[in-house]
Amino acid sequence: MNKRRIQMYLVLFLMAACFLWAAPSSAQDYPKGPIQIVIPFAPGGATDLFWRAVGDVLSKNLKVTVAFVNKAGGGGIVGMAPVVTSKPDGYTLCAGNSDTLNTTPLFTKDIPFDTINDLTYICKLAIFPQGMAARTESPFKTVEDVIAFAKENPKKLKAGVPGIGTSPHLASFMFNRDANVDVTTVAFGGGGEVVPQILGGHIDFAFISMPPVKAQYDAGKIRYLAFFAKKRHPLYPAIPTAVEKGLKRTVVETGIGLVGPKGLPPAIIKRWEEAAQQALKDPAVIAAVNKLDYVIDYKSGEDYKKEIVEEFADFKELMGKK
């Protein structure tokens, strides 16, 4: 007789457990329950590591658990799609990354939502600029060397990029436009795959951000030619920017921010803006962020959206010209 009763209790318990997770929905006393942030990339990537580095402090500031869930695929689209259609109660958010928000839509058709209008922009936390790198044995010591060679030998130069529709891929188009050259790009599967190709000399150079090549840069095996940033990187003041070299519009600073479904209440956005600003002042966060080569660049939700829209217009014009 007992067996049946135990089964009954078990079923009731499990059913009750299902409802425990139903989050409260009032914006005033937000946050009340655990918050889920979808990271639309694989574990170990740039965006993933950033959020895991700040996650603990965010949990502490908001006094609830902030849980990260990786849903990788399609340059971030696969993971972002379910967030777009989720309830705008602030308990399901998505790690937004410029790659997904204004670069992937330029290269990939059939994206099931509008990355500008179907999302609420919450805040921007940091950037990591893109740039170009070559191995130390390479004859290319400066950006000028690359441009000079490319002008004399059209289509001869082969540059690696970590993937189609990524920020570095976009950067390759900007470089070609501003330097008025024609460098062929070869897409690989992520930064980790590009590094051995640079070192082995299979490609002439690569459009890539600093973190994946850092180990080899420190060891003197890879030369970082330039950052595609508005100003010099605070951690690498000796490396020039492309703007200094006369490539006035070659700027790709991949932004890391937070987005949510359309129609998120302003109170929730405000709560996050405060929590993020507070977290970015935490010495532990600053140390971790610096070690991973990000540059802190806080922006409110409104400014963040404005920036993404402006960049998107610029990128569209660039791609339209091609």
Partner: protein
């Protein structure tokens, strides 16, 4: 001997009580993660990563590395017991491991995979110490053309994977290659065979295919037959491999170790491929190749050693070049960087306590895993005595969980279910599932390598023949493909007869 001195220093770091505890926690979590199908090392690593921010860097890496190779020990368990590979790297183990379990020899199968893993793990650490810098340089010579030719070699060994007709195997390979083209085009970003289904943008998931083809289809097959469970209950003979088992396994373990380690150091090569190579090699060398797939211990010992050695091999590019070879090593790298360490050429010089501490902990962890896994065999084997109406429900439950958690995407469960049906149909029609898995792994890698090579060579095919490593792989592949033609007639006839079965 500097190396011995360094290693002793490493042991002094790794055997402090705190680090022993972290190592044990790592291998324990790793074993569990390996046993649960679909829950791979990356999931566990990313959950534990923030925890490691608060501990010293050596302990952090010891913990995380423990998870990584612990998973390789655990991965074989469900393959052998219930025909669901815990990891894609254990697909091959299903072929003979599960058959051994059905014959009442689950214990020796689990035992030999634990011992094989131990030997491979230990040997690959020695190789790692001695050869890391040289090997890392060699791995750099792999450009896209070399990868392509290596994939051709990989595909040509598929012919030997087949138990039945070669034509059937080739059909399945083509199906696998076709499935591998689903997703965004890697060179242009245009969608292929996606039909506006977002889940398919990154292709059909390997884990879902594997769990469906092996796990679900097995349940479906068993449900329709009134299966006699007494086979499992009465005839569990011995929990450990006997002397005869050892004699037959020691060769495969040695060869599996070498294959796994050397393929593991090539960046981007998955842990899956070495297991297939090892299995095929054992089948080729065996005096009774026709028995492979019916429960021979060599078919378990080789691949299980290969996947452990390969996960040791993947540490070579990570520690010596700072290059991650997959999500798991990327997370390990991230952990090092957050602690302000510089993985790569400078690690040994800058932080010898980390490098040698981790290397020594690999030994310690392997001993722990052996001690941990051998007593567990008795427990695992008892699972087979669970009545089928409970066991099968549990298997289906784990299949669903496993296919969901890789990407936390409910549609992946649907894909897994579909492949369960496909796997069922394939079994009914006598088609093998393993070649499909290998083709699905190799297909996209081969396509990428081919297209990248042709961009780099500006469309010239000559690039595959003028580069020595690439030419070597291509020729080896062609030899393997056509070698049956040169075999003695008697052997050929035997092959044909076993093929007709």
């Amino acid at each position: 001997m500097d190396i011995i001195k360094d290693l002793l220093f490493g042991f002094s770091v790794a055997t402090t009580p705190v680090n022993l505890l972290y190592c044990f926690a790592g291998v324990l979590v790793g074993t569990l993660v390996g046993v649960l199908p679909g829950v791979g090392p990356p999931a566990a690593l990313s959950l534990l990563l923030p925890v490691t921010f608060h501990v010293p860097p050596v302990s952090a890496v010891i913990l995380l590395a423990g998870i990584m190779y612990g998973a390789m020990y655990g991965g074989s368990t469900t393959s052998i017991l219930v025909n669901i590979p815990g990891e894609a790297a254990s697909v091959v183990t299903c072929l003979d491991g599960y058959q051994m379990a059905r014959k009442g020899r689950a214990g020796p199968a689990l035992g030999i995979s634990a011992f094989g893993s131990f030997i491979a793990g230990t040997v690959s650490v020695v190789l790692l110490i001695l050869l890391a810098p040289t090997l890392a340089k060699f791995a750099l010579r792999f450009g896209p053309p070399e990868y392509f030719s290596l994939m051709v070699l990989g595909l040509s060994i598929l012919v030997y994977l087949a138990r039945g007709s070669i034509i059937n195997a080739l059909l399945i390979v083509c199906l696998g290659l076709l499935l591998g083209t689903v997703g965004l085009d890697p060179m242009s970003g245009s969608p292929r065979f996606i039909y506006k289904i977002t889940t398919l943008m990154d292709g059909i998931g390997l884990v879902q295919v594997v769990i469906g083809l092996f796990g679900i289809s097995e349940v479906l097959l068993n449900v329709e037959t009134t299966f006699k469970q007494e086979i499992f209950e009465t005839k569990i003979k011995g929990l450990l491999p006997n002397r005869e088992d050892w004699k037959r396994s020691i060769g495969p373990i040695g060869r599996g170790t070498i294959i796994g380690f050397f393929l593991g150091i090539v960046p981007g090569m998955s842990v899956v491929i070495p297991t297939f190579v090892s299995y095929v090699l054992e089948k080729k060398l065996s005096k009774y190749p026709e028995k492979f797939g019916t429960g021979v211990i060599e078919g378990v010992a080789g691949p299980e050693s290969a996947n452990n050695a390969a996960s040791g091999g993947t540490l070579v590019p990570m520690l010596s070049l700072g290059i991650p070879t997959g999500a798991a090593t990327a997370l390990l790298l991230g952990a090092l960087m957050i602690h302000g360490l510089r993985p790569g050429p400078l690690l040994i010089k800058d932080s010898p306590e980390v490098f040698w501490g981790v290397v020594a902990s690999l030994y310690v962890g392997n001993v722990m895993l052996l001690v941990l896994n051998l007593p567990l065999i008795g427990l695992w084997v008892k699972i087979l005595k669970v009545p089928y109406h409970y066991l099968f429900s549990l298997i289906v439950l784990f299949c669903i969980i496993g296919s969901y958690v890789t990407n936390n995407n409910p549609y992946d469960v649907v894909i897994m279910g579909l492949f369960g049906l496909i796997g069922y149909a394939m079994k009914k029609l006598n088609y093998e599932a393993a070649p499909l898995v290998l083709a699905l792994v190799l297909g996209p890698m081969m396509e990428n390598a081919l297209r990248r090579s042709l961009v780099l060579s500006e469309g010239s095919i000559g690039v595959f023949f003028t580069r020595p490593i690439s030419a070597f792989f291509l020729i080896a592949g062609l030899l393997i493909l056509f070698s049956p033609l040169f075999l003695k007639k008697r052997r050929l006839r035997e092959d044909l007869r076993s093929g007709g079965e």
